[in-house]
Symmetry: C2
Subunit: 339 residues, 2 copies
């Protein structure tokens, strides 16, 4: 491995000059710069990241605090892969890398990892449940961006979808398809998307002049079984809904299944709309009407927020990013049974 001194000697310049070629090219004569770059290419020289980090205290790495386990190890992000691709791509365009932080250790493991590696920032992905350790990290001054979860901290912000707007769009869509008794299977209230989607549902009903019935709001757990159980409760009501907005696709699939099992037709007797546009949504029959999030946009937005804070060490955190969503109409929200 060639070092900066090898390169300097070979070019007959000082190490400072070589360093400048890579960090502040304009401070060096064009000829010198080109000679150094040529020699670098020849020797296969690449500046050592740890050495640079040691000297500058900036690692050009951001940590990924990806915790599963609050809601059980079974928790899965609906589109982790696209998220990571987007994040990785956007970060790498700016010269940053993603370091996956280990879960476990003690509660402050992440904070220690940040100091250990001189991380420039941290991204949280979790199930939206507040974790005191993450909160402390966000308040420690390290630039932090979380997904779908409000955070406090001078240099902490978050990225989320327009959950309320998407829920509203789904409800309006059901209304336009002639439904008037629109229920919801909500997500857990302690999660941000769960709470926001419920708020959006309520707001939309109010805007449409529909009554808000308590019995039409059932809380689920974002999982298939929860959606199934919730739907059974809704179907047992005296005045059973003719449409259901489920705050998550898995719950929506469970709801459809419960309706079919009860001998109802979907969408004939009851229409269903979900949220997230998970892969199975288009694979099940009837295919699920749902609200799709801007998957690629998430990663890019996280990277943008993070880098803006990193670049300006004493700027306050940018306001939360709210990404637009898009209603995807499929089969479960078809027209009601004639008559």
């Amino acid at each position: 491995m060639a070092t900066i001194r090898d390169l300097a000697r070979r070019c007959g310049v000082s190490v400072a000059t070589v360093s400048r070629v890579f960090n502040n090219p304009d401070a060096v004569t064009r000829e010198t710069r080109e000679a150094v770059l040529r020699a670098a290419a020849l020797l296969g020289y690449t500046p050592s990241a740890p050495a640079r980090t040691l000297a500058t205290k900036r690692s050009r790495m951001v940590g990924l605090a990806w915790d599963t386990g609050h809601r059980g190890p079974g928790w899965r992000h609906p589109f982790l892969q696209e998220l990571l691709v987007g994040l990785k791509t956007a970060l790498s365009e700016r010269g940053y890398h993603l370091l996956m932080l280990a879960t476990g250790e003690d509660a402050d493991g992440h904070l220690r990892a940040v100091r250990r590696h001189s991380l420039d920032g941290v991204v949280f992905i979790d199930d939206g449940t507040a974790d005191p350790a993450l909160t402390r990290l966000a308040e420690s001054g390290v630039p932090c961006v979380s997904l779908d979860r409000p955070v406090t901290g001078r240099r902490a912000t978050y990225v989320t979808s327009d959950n309320a707007g998407g829920a509203g769009a789904a409800v309006r869509h059901l209304y336009e398809r002639g439904r008037r008794r629109i229920a919801t299977i909500a997500g857990p209230g302690r999660t941000h998307p769960g709470a926001e989607r419920l708020a959006g549902y309520r707001a939309a009903l109010a805007a449409l002049g529909l009554p808000l019935r308590d019995e039409y709001v059932v809380e689920g757990d974002f999982y298939l079984g929860g959606g199934h159980a919730a739907m059974r409760r809704l179907l047992a009501l005296d005045e059973c809904p003719d449409a259901v907005f489920a705050a998550g696709d898995e719950m929506a699939v469970g709801a459809v299944r419960a309706a079919l099992e009860a001998g109802l037709d979907v969408p004939g007797d009851v229409a269903v709309a979900g949220f997230d546009d998970i892969e199975p949504a288009s694979l099940v029959r009837p295919a699920l009407t749902t609200v799709a999030q801007d998957r690629a946009g998430f990663g890019a937005a996280v990277a943008a927020a993070l880098i803006s804070m990193i670049d300006d060490p004493d700027a306050a955190a940018p306001p939360p990013t709210v990404l637009p969503v898009r209603l995807v109409v499929r089969e479960t929200s078809g027209p009601p049974r004639a008559g």
Copy 2:
């Protein structure tokens, strides 16, 4: 941030002693060690990773070369999330971290990243298509472990599932359910799982004494549309199969759909089995019989292979790990229509 010298001064010992406390505790008196550890806890001291890397040339980080894009950006790993969790967990237990490598740059970007960050090893995740840059990396001497893709290189090995065995199990299962005209929708032959699953299908037919008919082997692309199209071709045959083993679940779902569209009953007229046990497999109706892989085991196996190579710098690569698979019987392989 407390440094090793702060700690040394505070404890009245030398930096060497402090260093030893963390790296070679037995070389230090118990009293001294405990005093240092106490002080470390008090000051919140954590050894700096970059400084350590600089001095030792070992970063305790492994790169994740996760390339999408060969088979198009749409390529998705069937269980990336479990894979990453397993990998991250297994690595962190041994004190290693995962650094996500950026795609793009020029072809040798990964190799440069390895040198830049003094990475101790690299994990490949891709769609199984050979990429010359990765091959070069594997042959460069860096410990490499790839997923579902044979690699050459003195310190390179791979982890895969028992693809042939799983395919055989699926075929035998269909046979036991009374099927005799068993076709397959294969994956692309250039991918390792595609080739292996086809081999397993062939071996099983031979072992069961069933004839091997060329027209019963149709190559798909692992996607829904490919499975659908392949099934249509199979159904158009003079003697149409009564069972289909699809080498991937998405193709299996497409095949089921094509059969249903043709007015056939699944499994009454034609049984279907898939491979991978993707999430939708249990969500579609009829639910898909498939071969499940050891999702958690993958990450652990990769970490084990990698660390064994890292720990012993001049050992050859361990042999490939082949993880057992498990047949998951659901509805699409039910009994044939009576009569």
